[in-house]
């Protein structure tokens, strides 16, 4: 596609439920990143994919968070047993080789009630 597409754009979920966030990067971009932005804060790195593998998942906050990428394209970020502190905007970005800046998606605003 022309840009990085994320879905859903907004998600309200009850505490304890699982959620799945989707990112569709720009075609041909091998590097994909997930970041999280809490209200009024900067971006917090979660995980990096090169192709389908995740050489750096050091930013995932807990074992409730997992992510995968298939076909070197679409990635899903799954949060199990959501907590209120998981409420944030989850941003996905992709780049060709990670050296010339990212293209970000519009994010998924997750609200856990």
């Amino acid at each position: 596609g022309a840009g990085v597409s994320q879905s859903p754009s907004n998600k309200v979920t009850e505490k304890g439920k699982d959620v799945e966030l989707r990112c569709d990067p720009i075609s041909g971009h091998t590097a994909l990143y997930w970041y999280r932005q809490s209200l009024g804060q900067g971006l917090e790195f979660l995980i990096y994919f090169q192709g389908n593998s995740a050489p750096d998942k050091s930013g995932l906050p807990s074992d409730r968070f997992s992510a995968e990428r298939t076909g070197g394209s679409v990635s899903t970020l799954t949060i199990q047993r959501t907590q209120q502190e998981d409420s944030a905007v989850y941003l996905c970005a992709s780049s060709r080789q990670g050296t010339n800046g990212y293209t970000f998606g519009s994010g998924t605003r997750l609200t856990v009630v």
């Binding site: 990143y33 970041y35 932005q37 900067g42 971006l43 941003l91 990670g98 800046g101 990212y102 994010g107």
Partner: protein, 115 residues
């Protein structure tokens, strides 16, 4: 630890004035990038400056980098109301071997340009 820290946290100016935002960082870098964010959603890449560069221009944007002071500044000249947004610096750290583009973002500067 906080890698990129911007100041000021908030800046309010009149249309036509220049806006200067600063960023400091702690570790050696491969490059430093500036991004803009409107309405708390997706970020837009503005400009990238490599560690061996000192100044870069793009339209009304001018970025400087001083690696000895571990600092960078973003200057927006002749600001417009449409420049109102949050601006973030992000560093691609040189530590730990080959860079793969992982960025560390600062907290951002909220710029308001009044018509």
């Amino acid at each position: 630890s906080q890698q990129g820290e911007e100041d000021p946290q908030a800046l309010s100016i009149q249309e036509g004035e220049n806006a200067t935002m600063n960023c400091s960082y702690k570790t050696s870098i491969n490059n430093l990038q500036w991004y803009r964010q409107n309405s708390g959603r997706g970020l837009v890449h503005l400009i990238l400056i490599r560690s061996n560069e000192r100044e870069k221009h793009s339209g009304r944007l001018r970025v400087t980098l001083d690696t000895s002071k571990k600092s960078s500044s973003l200057l927006i000249t002749a600001s417009r109301a449409a420049d109102t947004a949050s601006y973030f610096c992000a560093t691609d750290s040189a530590a730990g071997g080959t860079s793969y583009g992982k960025l560390t973002f600062g907290q951002g500067t909220i710029l308001t340009v009044h018509p």
